[in-house]
Symmetry: C2
Subunit: 454 residues, 2 copies
Amino acid sequence: IGMYGAVIFLVCTLYASALDNGQMLTPPMGWLAWERFRCDIDCVNDPKNCISEKLFMDMADRLSEDGWRELGYVYVNIDDCWSSMDRDKDGRLQADPKRFPSGIKKLAQYMHDRGLKLGIYGDMGTHTCGGYPGTPLEKIELDAQTFADWGVDMFKYDGCYSNATEQEQGYPLMSKALNATGRPIGYSCSWPAYQGGLPPKVNYTQLGEICNLWRNYGDIQDSWDSILSIVDWFFENQDVLIPAAGPGKWNDPDMLIIGDFGLSMEQSRSQMALWAVMAAPLFMSNDLRTISSGARAVLQNEMIISISQDPLGIQGRRILKEKSGVQIFWRPLSENASALLFFSRRTDMPYRYKTSLSKLNYTTGSYKVTDVYTFKTTVLKDSTEFVVSLNPSGVVMWYVSAPAKLNSRLVFRASKQNTKKSQGFVKLPLLQFYCCLLILHILHFYPSLFNTPF
Amino acid sequence: IGMYGAVIFLVCTLYASALDNGQMLTPPMGWLAWERFRCDIDCVNDPKNCISEKLFMDMADRLSEDGWRELGYVYVNIDDCWSSMDRDKDGRLQADPKRFPSGIKKLAQYMHDRGLKLGIYGDMGTHTCGGYPGTPLEKIELDAQTFADWGVDMFKYDGCYSNATEQEQGYPLMSKALNATGRPIGYSCSWPAYQGGLPPKVNYTQLGEICNLWRNYGDIQDSWDSILSIVDWFFENQDVLIPAAGPGKWNDPDMLIIGDFGLSMEQSRSQMALWAVMAAPLFMSNDLRTISSGARAVLQNEMIISISQDPLGIQGRRILKEKSGVQIFWRPLSENASALLFFSRRTDMPYRYKTSLSKLNYTTGSYKVTDVYTFKTTVLKDSTEFVVSLNPSGVVMWYVSAPAKLNSRLVFRASKQNTKKSQGFVKLPLLQFYCCLLILHILHFYPSLFNTPF
């Protein structure tokens, strides 16, 4: 009995390899202030764009009124420069009183009233990167409790002004502290980005146990170059990164800059597709009040969102890197489907790339193929040669459904999944605990059930 | 008498310091195939985009029907890969018979019927860069005559497969040969680009005498990076390049890639503004059949075109390079006006740059300032502090009219100037010749007029 019990307990524990807060079983989606609004605190001269409760309420209004929320974009995340320079008399963090006169609790309520969630930011060093009060080791429990009291739904823990030793203590400690509040709070760790993003310095098994997402690499900037350097790094290190990701635990290549100033339409489509293939969190950092209709259409593409939000949560892989500058990526999806992404790194003119599904390792059969940007559908045999025309810095992305499922219609999962988050396969510590209790109970009272030799 | 005659002859000669063909007294404007369509000769699989007479007729239709011609975009220029691999029985170049079944002469007529001009391409080496027949030294006169016979209006002379010695002979020889045909043919020399673009290898005085425009630097590609490297090179070497340019003789930083795949709207506005400040030729290389309305609006901006086409033809200068990433450019214009260009090299967020006209070397007075993209006009005293908000990779461009001319309305010169090209200050060799003849005649018959001591 003892041995069986131990085995079953072990199974229950393994089942919970991601952070056990039931959060973010698909890559989180929403909006994050940093890339677009940075540390603009000049509300006198720049009232529309400064970091203030007004900015986050504006974005919440847009998310809830312009069709974003229904597609899954539910997080409204504060980044650096939100707090007062001083903690309050009880040592708690407090928002800057001029820029957040109603306080964070009211702001969280504003989000919840609209079916949205609020994220907030802290730093595990003495100060945040912007020089605001940090959350060093001795403040972790207090600040976690403060965030929970405010009704915050997500927390990004940055790493400026802390060393490797402190980080090794602080990031796990914050995970426990957030869990201990009893409030489900998605936990974003900047830890690996401060340690070069690679083993042995970075332990991805541990990260998956304590964080829901983590920044592996440098900050994104508003330029195509920045995206290329991120994409190159993530796919050059894919053998390390792909196994680290899964439901509840995601590599984070940083924000979507679609709708800002640095990307052409072609490049915007490319970022969206690449982020979806990477199973990356989709946090836009842009001005939703003034976004162009073209950028909006890319960000609101339902087929790409459905690929991003596939319930298997398997991060995609680069499968081919041609001398011509064409690169091909593949992400396995549920129902034996897959996403296939052709990407041109050329800077000259549209390139006609010829291949077949069998050359891309697809097994024998006929596949239904839908272009996620043009919505055109064709049926392709694995052996059929086809040509994709790839624009410079552009992509062609296909949703490929499995041969056996040719007649099943494409399912758009995005919105459904986001409302399903707390049902189904949730890995709540409580559920796990009850499951083990039940099994131990059975073992105890009906040992004969298990003692029968096989 | 002899001395006076020599002086006057000298004056007549100095008057003609630019190539004496009366062409391109303002930077030429039009369309050039290369960047967008390259050497695509696959008319079987890609009939719409292959280098063929159809492509150039399509572009001519667009130029003449979509408002381009009236703004000055009149050249339709063929680049490499137009010719047959073999010269004809008389040793003349001939167009590829499959892709140009009607021949170049008919194509030139097609342009002229629409108020447009045709440009063609050759190479001073054994082969063109794309491997087609070159125009080496011994073929120069023959080919120049062929182009003139066809009714070609502009010729770009590339430099692949030739060495420095051959170039030193060939580029001036072609200039003479083109002039000798009697047909005005604008002459674009790639020579300096093959010699590093800088003295002592490059002699800009000579270039101004033999070419109407010249490529100083590498080919543009469809990326913002490419634009930045071109802009950096041109302004780092501005002290060499600015004096080289003037009416009839232009530095050529290469084509406009606005409307292609690599630039955001912000970056498109920046290329247009920077090229206008550089007094650069404005050759678009894009697909005018499918261009977006946003890109079209940038390329058809009348105020910027009027700055580009200012009759003084003075190339602009970078006057400030701030640590913040803000760079400021200035181009003097006729009627004591000027163009002022603020450019952000940042990749983060809009930047509020504070300055005053006096800090930018403007003299005391009030200036009328018009933003060429928003059309907003204000009056600024030289001492007034103002803030320009600069988007990442974006520009703000002002047309600044002189203090004395505050009440004069902004004159849009673009379309007028282009029709004036062959009037006014044209420097036709014939005119110069007659002028000298007349003066020598007077000197000969009325010597006493000049012998009076002053």
